[in-house]
Amino acid sequence: MGLGSDFLNGIDKWLTGHWFRIFLGFVSVGSFVVVWWAVALYLHETGNVLWPYVPYPQDVLKAFFSSFVEPVPGPEVFMGQSIAASLGRVVLGFLLALAIALPLGILMGMFRILEFLGMPTMELFRPIPPIAWVPVFMFAFRTLWGPVAIVFVGAFFPILVSVMFGVKSVDPVLTDAARALGANKRDLFRKVVLPFVAPYLMTGMKVGLGVAWMCIVAAELIPVRGGGGLGYLIWVTSDLGEFSYTYAAMLMIGILSILTTGVAGLIEQKVYKWMGMK
């Protein structure tokens, strides 16, 4: 009995433990790669007309690593350059969005007149996909700032909406209590509203960052200057039929998106700690 329950406890611990989670992660990625490889094998072996479009996983991996040390044939750009160009656009567009959406969101959340004034226009523009702005921004902001502007639009609304919602949902009991304890307006904002909004802001930032990365492919569809970027790499290599590089660039966007969200998570923890929340 004792042995049995120990055994079961062990299994239970294993199933909920850290290592099992890592194991499942490998299963998840591994099974995807196996299916991909099988599809590629099938298309290549049967001589299906689609085979150039589905390279083997190992070819994509090879293209991925070689592009760091050798330029991609055709556009003659390195992966490192493309990362730098895209990262610059994403970070710049995102920071601009944050700088404007954060104060605007707080103001719209605090003052109803601003909310009623701003909401109709915001609701009109919010559902428009950032890609729709490509033709307009190409002319309005040109080759250097056009892509940044598209990332900006993508990141702007998630941040704005989250912050505004956060400010609006501050528990009135908290503000009343703080007031009763003699807090002035400044204290109220710093000690009650801001800590309450922080998690909403962080969620908005994470979503905004994700959208920013999604926008980069559309953003770099327009004739960009200041380095090609990963989106450009995707377009140009698919035009030339170098699909191993296309998938390598897509993979890199995925990795960078995970990494930047990770960095945002790190900042989140720092902020919480600084605010004395954890």
Binding site: P73, V77, F78, M79, A84, P223, G226, L240
Partner: protein
Amino acid sequence: MEKKTIVLVAIVAAIIVIAGVAAAFLMGKGESRKVVYYVNVKPNLMESWLEANESDAYIAWEPFDSAAVVDGTGKILMWTNEIMPHHPCCVVVVAKGFLESDQGANLTLRLVAAHIKATEWILDALAHKSEANYTLLVNMAADFTKRSSAVVTEALDHVEYGYTMNASFRDSLEQFTQMYMDDALITNESLNSRGYDSVADFIDSYVNGTYIDDAGTVGLFATILNPTPIRLGYLVGDLHQMAQVVARNTSAFGGVSMFEDYGLDVTPALEGGYAAGGDEMTAFGLGEVDVGYLGAPPAIINHINKNVDTVIVAQANSEGSAIVVSASSDVQSLDDLVGRTVATPSVSSIQHLLLKVALERRGIELVKG
């Protein structure tokens, strides 16, 4: 996320960012190299981008070169025949599926016959500029390109029309393919995977001259042979492809087009045309085009790298592209372009390829701006 994981992620992120920036820095550091930057811009936007100083020069097909000259916004730095004399440009391409379909070979033969007739009509009109046919040609060209007759008059003089595929044509196509191989865009492996032993073997089977040879045996036909219209692909306002404009025109030739003369019902695959040769080849791959006019290099690279099963059956034109700089530019030669930006239609275009070749001869690299 656990703190440890986050720190780890942050470190990896930092490494990648530093590597990226370092790579960019190292690339930038090679300033001892001579470099010209390129951006990819749609040809119809090139003139306005040049005017807005978004690029210092552009390379495009006619009439986008003569348009800038006539408008007074640009001047010609160099015609592409100065880079490669009599270089092939646009060709007539037929989908393998269409060719091998019922009546496909016969219809292709008739298409080529109509293409020859239209090309000869153009050549004749160009040779007799005082006659009515020249005016007709200019009007058709102006209508198709949506440009003034002043622009097309100028542009028509810079395009060499012709349909024959002689030895030098084949050599040039071999040369294009070899350039792609030098840049590792096409590899021996990819040639082999398509069933070709060598570049020469590839060109031998990709260029099929039998239709040109046999076109003389075809007579006119009073009734339409094909029950479903043949879908014709061409590029937006591309003056190189005037033969298909002439062959489709009904009003100028007594209500019957040259295609109809040969018993063919031909309709545009995409009204208004494709933006680039690469787009047209994609449409070929999707089975939306039966026969098309486009540049030889995009046809080659899409056939090899994307499995788009097609055959070249005739030439459409040679030469007829130019590098254009703004009218007030101080650029006098290719060397003066160093450190500046040139707009090209796409990396797979013949214009991009020729620019790259011209710059490389002067020891200049063409890199992404």
